[in-house]
């Protein structure tokens, strides 16, 4: 047991070799598109919307398809079941997620410069927590909107949670919910962090 901890402590002090640092540099670049592309997208389809409706969740904004009008349309439809309007102002996430992404970029550069596996691992842990928390937060928002329906609404429906991932039939709509490019960029970011650690881990062993 003690040997294991000492091995870990030892490894955390490992310096990052050039390859790992290059990977961290790449990881910084990979985060850039996450500011400009959607984290998540929801597609709604029913017979009377042959082109469907779409909703894109960016790190900093909510955007409807059809030049933004789909969000308006979703709100108009939701008002019949008494759902609160989806408004950017009500999404605190849209404020802290871009902030967090910026911090991740800085922390990655920091790890790159300080060049210790330990710094990368710290970053990876925080990042993983951020990812899980964001998904929970997203789920909670959907749950909240679907469970806080105005009891005086013209159409009464049972409380529901729109799908966070995958397909679900909601009323007359077929709804698909999937991660967007920005989420994939975040996954790649996480993988790159792991790779940067793994590469420096191996090199040291070979050298030793």
């Amino acid at each position: 047991m003690r040997r294991m901890f000492s091995w870990i402590s030892d490894k955390l002090e490992n310096p990052l070799d050039l390859k790992s640092r290059l990977i961290l540099g790449l990881a910084v670049l990979v985060l850039i598109p996450s500011f400009f592309t959607p984290l998540w997208s929801l597609e709604f389809w029913s017979y009377q919307y042959p082109d469907g409706l779409s909703l894109y969740i960016y790190s900093h904004k909510l955007v409807g398809g059809d030049d933004g009008n789909d969000l308006n349309e979703i709100n108009i439809l939701n008002h019949y079941i008494g759902m609160a309007e989806l408004q950017e102002e009500d999404f605190l996430e849209l404020k802290w997620i871009p902030l967090a992404l910026g911090i991740f970029m800085l922390l990655t550069m920091r790890a790159l410069i300080f060049g210790r596996i330990g710094k990368v691992l710290d970053l990876f842990m925080i990042f993983t927590y951020f990812g899980l928390f964001s998904i929970w937060s997203f789920w909670y928002k959907l749950h909240y909107y679907g469970h806080n329906l105005d009891p005086r609404a013209s159409v009464n429906v049972d409380p529901f949670t729109p799908p966070v991932f995958g397909f679900e039939q909601v009323g007359q709509f077929k709804v698909w919910s999937y991660p967007g490019i920005a989420s994939y960029a975040l996954v790649i970011f996480g993988v790159l962090l792991i790779l940067s650690m793994v590469f420096s881990l191996k090199r040291k062993e070979q050298a030793g």
Partner: protein, 641 residues
């Protein structure tokens, strides 16, 4: 349409039709299933016609067909080849379906008139090709012309000019939409409003033809110039193109220049063997205006052709002519005398030569008449009652024959030397005829007025339908027949029936028209009376004037109560704040004869006097949503103290 149908679909349709035929044969044939219209004229090969006209659900037609609505005052929009009626564009008459003629803007455009007589739609052109921007349409009754914007299929301008009486020779468009025409069909004393008895017809009555200028940016129409003409009836026209670009042509009848009380114009106007084609050089007209060779009457700059030589010429044409049509190249000017069994082809280049050589056979009111023989290329024995001519892309012309109830297909020049002076020899240039049901007036081919007709479809616009449809009593609709002209033989494909009463129509390739389907909030110019949020709506009073700024959205109005006093003048500005395709909202006030319709993103205004005291519900007339029935409110009119 066939590019749009996959081979599989075609096979499927073919098999479907064959199966149906087999089934029907088993039932004792089509006769056993459905009633049949009168035998005789106009039958088609069922399989061929069905394949060529069937547009499966969800598929789109290949062409737009814009029919004039005649004395309904509207434009009808159909798709070709399905011939399905898609929409009606109100122009000269109110149309509650779209609220046209009820809101302030369209009411002001209509003025005091509640109808018009729309005859000849004309599409805007660039380089002699339809450009899909605007559709122009004349009003024969009140001497008006209107412009429809094809971006949203709405009437944007209705214009009237002085001195035009019965604007029939309109609305023909020059190759770059420099001008559209207007012309007097029924001469009256000049200037407009003058009183003179019909006994003074020859001297005091005048015809006027006019060039309406079109702003190339926004299509706005304004009066360019007018030309004072002898008191004939100026009938139909066309604009020159190619070699004849810069010229306008009209036919005219009653060159006898008389209106004898009780003498029957049909008789008195048919005495001379020939009437005329008018040839007007619009660039010369512009020069005459620039040189000050005009007099202003009631604000219109009027050119007297006797004092501005070079602007107008006549050339004789078989009596009582109707259509004059310019071939795609612009060289052949086709005039049809409706009482003659021939159609005349004039050679525009010969006309230019005759003008250059002053080869005139006569002068009428100072207007030179070109020597007929010098200008005429040939007379084509097309058949009885030729009216109008259209063209394909293979050098053929198609002339409607009213009396014969047929379309004649014939070859445009060149002809073998020597043939043109021998009526018998000219017969071989008439290639084929197809009977139509019945009594065709105008006809239109795909892009037929452009420099490059498509040569695939022809629509015969027939005056009579005589039982080709389920009977609807004595007030019988018109018929429009789709004919395939792509092969050697013309083939009848489809019968469609229209409300009264198409005259001319134009057919344009569907992909040339780019429409919007909503008025986007941040794209369209802002309406100063628009409000977009419930909290910005208002009811404001200024003395006896009450102004309401209202929104409509699924499924409510805000405000939904309007309180006024009896006698107030109330203006409601209604903004449909929807931005979703097809979410229209109507606004009708019961017992107040008000119904306006606002399209998504549109603001419509209506002003009325609240003269009836009591409580009146208002509601959404254009079905919008599951709770459309609940979309209502109240107008409370407090009785005078």
């Amino acid at each position: 349409m066939f590019e749009r149908l996959s081979l599989m679909k075609r096979l499927f349709v073919g098999v479907l039709i064959l199966t149906m035929l087999a089934f029907l044969a088993g039932c004792g044939g089509p006769e056993g299933q459905r009633g049949r219209a009168g035998k005789g004229a106009g039958r088609s090969d069922v399989t061929d016609a069905a394949l060529k006209t069937y547009v499966p659900p969800g598929d789109l037609d290949e062409y737009y067909l814009f029919y004039s609505g005649g004395h309904s005052g509207q434009i009808f929009v159909a798709g070709v080849p399905s011939m399905r009626h898609i929409s009606t564009i109100p122009v000269f008459s109110p149309y509650p379906g779209t609220g046209y003629g009820f809101d302030n803007e369209s009411k002001e455009m209509l003025g005091d008139y509640t109808w018009g007589d729309s005859h000849h739609p004309g599409l805007s052109e660039t380089d002699g090709e339809y450009d899909g921007r605007w559709l122009f349409i004349n009003d024969n009754a009140q001497g008006r012309i209107a412009r429809i914007d094809l971006r949203d299929f709405k009437t944007k301008q209705i214009m009237t000019i002085p001195h035009i009486s019965a604007n029939h020779g309109s609305s023909f468009v020059t190759p770059n939409t420099e001008y559209i025409t207007m012309a007097t069909r029924m001469s009256v004393p000049f200037p407009e409003g003058t009183y003179a008895d019909v006994t003074e017809y020859a001297r005091k009555y005048k015809g006027v033809i006019a060039g309406i200028k079109v702003d190339p940016k926004d299509g706005h129409m304004s009066l360019g110039w007018e030309v004072l003409m002898p008191p004939f009836n100026y009938d139909l026209g066309d604009a020159g193109k190619g070699v004849s670009d810069g010229w306008l042509f009209w036919t005219c009848y009653n060159s006898e220049r008389e209106f004898i009380e009780g003498g029957k114009l049909e008789v008195t106007a048919s005495q001379r063997d020939k009437d005329y084609v008018v040839m007007l050089n619009w660039r010369e007209a512009e020069k005459a205006i620039a040189a000050g060779k005009f007099k202003t009457y009631k604000g219109a700059k009027v050119i007297d052709p006797a004092k501005a030589p070079g602007v107008v010429y006549f050339v004789g044409l078989a009596k009582s002519p109707h259509g004059v049509d310019v071939s795609p190249s612009g060289q052949w000017i086709i005039g049809s005398g409706k009482l003659s069994p021939t159609t005349t082809v004039f050679n525009f280049e010969k006309a230019l030569k005759a003008i250059e050589n002053k080869d005139f056979e006569d002068t009428v009111d100072g207007i030179p008449v070109l020597t007929y023989e010098s200008v005429r290329e040939a007379e084509i024995p097309v058949g009885l009652g030729p009216l109008h001519t259209q063209f394909d892309d293979r050098g053929n012309a198609y002339t409607s024959l009213f009396v014969e109830s047929a379309v004649a297909k014939w070859k445009l020049p060149p002809y073998d030397p020597g043939d043109t002076d021998d009526a018998k020899k000219m017969e071989k240039y008439v290639l084929e005829k197809i009977p139509v049901a019945y009594n065709i007036g105008h006809l239109v081919t795909a892009e037929g007025d452009s420099r490059s007709p498509d040569g695939n479809y022809l629509v015969a616009l027939n005056k009579l339908s005589k039982g080709r449809h389920l009977s609807v009593g004595p007030s019988i609709p018109e018929s429009a027949q789709l004919i395939d002209i792509s092969g050697d033989k013309m083939k009848l494909l489809y019968d469609a029936f229209t409300e009264p009463e198409p005259h001319y129509a134009v057919m344009i390739k569907a992909d040339k028209i780019e429409t919007i389907e909503v008025y986007k909030k941040d794209v369209e110019p802002a309406n100063k009376n628009a409000v977009w949020e419930p909290e910005d709506t208002s009811v404001k009073r200024n003395g006896p004037n009450v102004t309401v700024k209202m929104i409509a959205v699924r499924s409510f109005f805000a405000p939904d109560v309007i309180r006024v006093n009896q006698g107030d003048k109330v203006t409601v500005h209604l903004t449909n704040i929807e931005q979703t395709r097809d979410e229209l909202h109507g606004f009708a006030i019961n017992a107040y004869n008000i119904n306006i319709v606002a399209d998504p993103g549109e603001t419509k205004s209506v002003t009325f006097k609240a003269d009836k005291p009591g409580v009146y519900a208002f509601y959404c007339t254009n079905f919008c949503s599951a709770l459309h029935q609940e979309m209502q409110g109240y107008l409370l009119v407090k009785p005078r103290g």
